[in-house]
């Protein structure tokens, strides 16, 4: 899949994550993450995002995310929605 236009998904409510995606043609994967649990779960959140991108076969994308303590399933769902909206 390819990111054609900027799109977003999610909310800033507790246990949710707000994700914006942008085209990043030929520049690979770039993730800007802010989280209330950055120190404890920052790596895990990045891992989930990268796995989701791999499953969707996305190679170029810029992700800006603001996490409010979302669990993995929510991170995955919000990223999927944002990507589908960017298509």
């Amino acid at each position: 899949m390819v990111i054609n236009k900027p799109a977003r998904a999610g909310t800033l409510e507790s246990s949710d994550i707000y994700i914006m995606v942008q085209p990043n043609q030929g520049q690979g994967i770039e993730i800007q993450l802010d989280s209330i649990v950055l120190k404890q779960f920052g790596k895990q959140i990045q891992n989930v995002m990268r796995q989701t991108l791999k499953d969707l076969e996305i190679e170029d994308i810029k992700i800006i995310a603001n996490d409010r303590g979302a669990l993995d399933y929510t991170i995955r769902a919000r990223l999927e929605t944002a990507i589908n909206r960017a298509n």
Partner: protein, 290 residues
């Protein structure tokens, strides 16, 4: 009866916090809602969230029902296409007609086969919320062999009828009775309409008792705080259980003495009384109270 459906709790499908906690609230069934509680702009997001939740969230054995958007809307069919893969226990169909039930049944079957899911795993619960569906509920139920229950939707029904919805519920007496009777005929559950005032617990109790008195077997809840009362009403009381146990005991004693007909507490006990006692004990067992 292997699954209780005393309380079925509506949870908004686009709220992670509510979804991931839904399994601990004490409801027998949970409805993850993609319809009324989700705005048009967020239909896709809720669908993706519920899809992922079904795959990863532990609901501690609660039955998981997904209320899809109307099959005639732009979202309903897509909802089924995405969600079926994550194997919910059932879909709930708003404003269901016979044709909707047939079409959805076929579509679900097709995806089940494709995904290697055992045929007929995923069940259907139509919502009866128009005068038409109340009148034709038998045909709607029998349009699919996946139907396990009917939910009465009184708000839309009374709007359709152009009558006022009241707390007393006189206006839905017929609908409740009809659904209860027909569901019993098909041996499926009759789920009562939710009680709208989430702060009136006495009103909720009365309304639940009223529905149960007409033959409804469970009730929808729109707030977790309603669960306890609904469960209480639909769970056999200690007195009922004791009575049933005594009837069964008396029956076994009579059998031992070779008596076909016997009496308990001065009353003749016949087959319907024994049936009732057995049903109460089975319900109590499933509810974990004995």
């Amino acid at each position: 009866m292997n699954r209780l459906r005393r309380t079925i709790l509506f949870m908004p499908g686009n709220n992670p916090n509510m979804i991931q906690n839904a399994g601990v609230l004490g409801a027998d069934s949970i409805i993850l809602d993609l319809e009324d509680s989700v705005s048009i702009e967020e239909k896709d997001a809720a669908r993706d969230l519920v899809h992922n939740a079904l795959k990863h969230v532990d609901f501690y054995g609660c039955e998981i029902v997904v209320r899809i958007n109307s099959p005639s809307s732009p979202f309903g069919i897509k909802d089924i296409q995405v969600i079926t893969k994550a194997k919910p226990d059932a879909f709930m169909i708003p404003m269901a007609t016979e044709e909707d039930m047939e079409e959805i049944c076929k579509l679900v079957g097709k995806i089940e086969r494709k995904e290697g899911i055992l045929e007929n795993t995923i069940k259907l619960i139509p919502i009866a919320e128009t005068a038409y569906s109340i009148e034709n509920i038998a045909d709607i139920i029998s349009a699919s062999n996946r139907t396990i229950a009917v939910l009465l939707g009184a708000e839309d029904l009374t709007a359709d009828l152009e009558v006022t919805r009241t707390k007393e519920g006189q206006e839905i007496l017929y609908a409740r009775s009809r659904i209860a009777h027909i569901c019993k005929t098909y041996k499926i559950d009759a789920i009562d309409t939710p009680f709208a005032d989430v702060d009136d617990f006495e009103g909720l109790r009365k309304d639940t008792i009223r529905g149960k008195g007409l033959g409804m077997t469970g009730k929808a809840a729109i707030n977790p705080r309603q669960i306890e009362i609904i469960n209480q009403v639909f769970t056999p009381t200690i007195d009922e259980i004791e009575y049933a146990q005594n009837v069964i005991k008396a029956m076994e004693e009579a059998k031992g003495k070779g008596k076909g007909v016997f009496s308990y507490q001065g009353k003749m006990v016949d087959a319907p009384i024994i049936d009732r006692a057995e049903t109460i004990l089975e319900k109590a067992k499933t509810a974990g109270v004995i």
